[in-house]
């Protein structure tokens, strides 16, 4: 066998490995969720009930919507936003206040989304200047948290009427509205990031910043668009979240930021940018919600739940990283 033939065969083998690892990477998480579902419905008696499925979907809705939006930021090569919690609280406070004052939940929701958009665009602008997104969003989170707490005096802001909970209680054929909103927003985020010029620019910028800029793509403009997608999702999710609790306080939802980041990472979107999709992040959120719900049903204490979640995130992130490395070799 000549060396040329040998290297050709080696190349083919490598291509084969690449295809296999990429296939695993593509379908690993959906298969894993299916497996967890099957095992849980056999082992855990109450698992396969309408009630449980509904709870899992509801838990996925808020995290999933924000994760789908955040995927745009990650795809554009700007890592992720670490100020989710503060912005959700701000939007929640505005939804309750404006909704209570006007008596119209749609006006309240619109105001909440607008507030999220304003702080989102401001952050997108600063990140677009070329500053580190992790630092900017952490700082912005601290500022928004501080400002919200000062304005509300750190007190609980409660809805004056149950009317404000309509977004969460309204259901079609037994499935609550947040689940439909999740599907609609994910479809929208997918469409924008995969089928529009903005999305193409986001992908290009994330894959290769220098080449993208040299071919005339505006870093500032694209980054702001990514933050707009994120902020719309965040505002909508905040309305849905607060509709469920009917009250909000500055210290609420401390674990939300990390849950969203974990959903994006577990879903398999590359943190370096350019590779991933909002749908993957929602599947990541679904996986985390499913595992959490199973642990709640089995009666695992909160500390252990947190620990297991950490193990899952680390193991999945490392596995995906190794698969990606093998696939690109």
């Amino acid at each position: 066998m000549t060396t040329a033939q040998g290297s050709a065969i080696a190349f083919q083998e490598r291509a084969g490995i690449r295809r296999t690892t990429n296939a695993i990477r593509q379908y690993a998480l959906p298969i894993l969720i299916a497996l967890v579902f099957v095992i849980a419905s056999i082992v855990v008696p109450q698992f396969l009930s309408f009630q449980t499925i509904r709870a899992i979907l509801l838990a996925t809705a808020v995290t999933g919507i924000i994760a789908a939006g955040m995927t745009a930021i990650t795809l554009s090569g700007n890592l992720f936003s670490l100020g989710v919690t503060a912005s959700v609280v701000l939007s929640g406070v505005i939804y309750i206040s404006v909704g209570s004052a006007t008596g119209n939940i749609f006006v309240g929701a619109l105001a909440a989304v607008l507030a999220a958009l304003v702080v989102g665009i401001a952050q997108g602008f600063i990140v677009g200047l070329g500053l580190n997104p992790v630092v900017v969003t952490l700082a912005a989170g601290a500022i928004i948290y501080g400002a919200t707490a000062i304005i509300t005096g750190g007190e609980v802001v409660a809805a004056r009427s149950r009317e404000l909970g309509r977004f969460a209680t309204f259901a079609i054929v037994g499935i609550p509205l947040p689940v439909f909103v999740l599907v609609a927003f994910t479809a929208l985020a997918w469409f924008v990031t995969e089928r529009t010029r903005i999305g193409r620019n986001v992908h290009l910028l994330g894959s290769n910043k220098e080449t993208a800029r040299n071919s005339g793509i505006s870093f500032m403009g694209t980054t702001i668009w990514a933050f707009v997608i994120f902020a719309v999702g965040l505002g909508v999710a905040a309305v849905l979240q607060v509709s469920q609790t009917l009250q909000v306080q500055a210290d609420n939802f401390p674990e939300l930021t990390m849950n969203v980041v974990a959903a994006v990472l577990v879903g398999g979107t590359a943190v370096t940018g350019g590779d991933g999709s909002p749908i993957k992040s929602v599947i990541g959120a679904l996986f985390i919600a499913t595992v959490t719900q199973i642990m709640v049903l089995v009666g695992v204490p909160q500390g252990t739940r947190y620990f297991v979640l950490g193990v899952i995130v680390v193991v999945l992130v490392v596995t995906l990283h190794l698969l990606r490395k093998a696939g690109s070799r």
Partner: protein
């Protein structure tokens, strides 16, 4: 006196900000005592130092606040062995965990931001398990008394913090392993090509980071005699703010322990002053956020002006 003037030029921005903060605190609040802020070296100062070491090496350790909480929980759980012993055990265990984390990051070649997001949750979960899901406290409440003495304005804890900062400063600037971290942070491929061992650098950087977090957490718990599963969560933002406000570059390879101390001083004087005036903790959060954002913006514009100046000089040279 050239070295002195360059020293001042290097830290000018931070020194000016520090003076402004101290003066305005005294103006707003005459009974303010600036030396009291130094007590915040534990945990804020050492956590900022730990974050700074990983930033200098071009990495990011988001798990440091969780590590501090774990160390605090271990200290309280093991306090039956004697408080000093339990503090030392907690710090050793957490440092080893950090070294393991650094080794894993180097071997996997994974982005440390991604990996430590995972371990942030994982180590917090471990803390929940160690605490048994509840706030816990030391049985012998007099055990903490040894930490309360005072010499001038220094307590045993703030002295420990200062010693750690000075020790790390000497390590980073005077030893080979320390200088290798700067090389890894500023131009990694060249550093590795020149023979710097990347895995060793990661083990050292994340070991130091976890160790610093552990010192902060263990001593905080030893002083208060208690630990909680969700303790010290705000230290991540505050620590990052202190390191960056001090002038550590998040891009890696730039900054010293003097930067860390100045950044720590600015943030702690600010929070101590606001707390002294009776403001709630969220007011100081607001100011910490504003400071962090302002300082990165100012540095960005200074860098941009420098770049423009360099370009126009080149243009003039080209025309001449």
């Amino acid at each position: 006196m050239r070295p002195v003037s360059t020293w001042f030029a290097r830290y000018a921005l931070q020194l000016v900000v520090l003076v402004i903060v101290i003066v305005s605190m005294y103006a707003l609040y005459p009974s303010f005592r600036v030396e009291a802020s130094i007590e915040r070296l534990i945990p804020l100062g050492v956590i900022a130092a730990g974050l700074a070491v990983t930033m200098i090496a071009g990495e990011f350790d988001l798990s440091i606040a969780s590590m501090a909480a774990l160390s605090g929980a271990l200290t309280v759980v093991l306090s039956g062995l004697g408080l000093i012993t339990s503090v030392l055990i907690a710090i050793t265990v957490c440092t080893l965990l950090g070294m393991l984390q650094g080794w894993a990051i180097a071997k996997l070649g994974i982005n440390s931001l991604v990996f430590t997001v995972g371990t942030l949750v994982l180590i917090r979960g471990l803390t929940w398990l160690v605490c048994g899901g509840l706030s816990i406290s030391i049985d012998d409440i007099t055990a903490s008394d040894i930490f309360y003495g005072k010499f001038l304005f220094l307590s045993p804890l703030s002295t420990t913090g200062l010693v750690i900062l000075i020790g790390l400063g000497i390590f980073l600037s005077r030893t080979r392993w320390g200088r290798e971290l700067y090389a890894l942070g500023s131009s990694r491929p060249e550093a590795i090509a020149a023979g710097v061992r990347y895995p060793r650098g990661m083990v050292i950087a994340f070991g130091i980071s976890a160790g610093c977090g552990a010192v902060g957490g263990a001593l905080t718990s030893a002083l208060s005699g208690s630990a909680a599963p969700n303790a010290l969560e705000s230290m991540l933002v505050a620590g990052i703010a202190a390191a960056l406000v001090g002038g550590i570059s998040i891009a890696g390879g730039r900054g010293t322990m003097i930067n860390v101390f100045l950044g720590f001083a600015i943030i702690s004087v600010l929070s101590a002053g606001l707390a002294g005036m009776g403001s709630k903790a969220f007011v100081s959060q607001l100011f910490v956020g504003i400071f962090l954002l302002l300082i990165v913006l100012v540095e960005y514009f200074i860098a941009r002006l420098g770049e423009q100046g360099r370009r126009s000089r080149l243009r003039r040279l080209a025309e001449a």
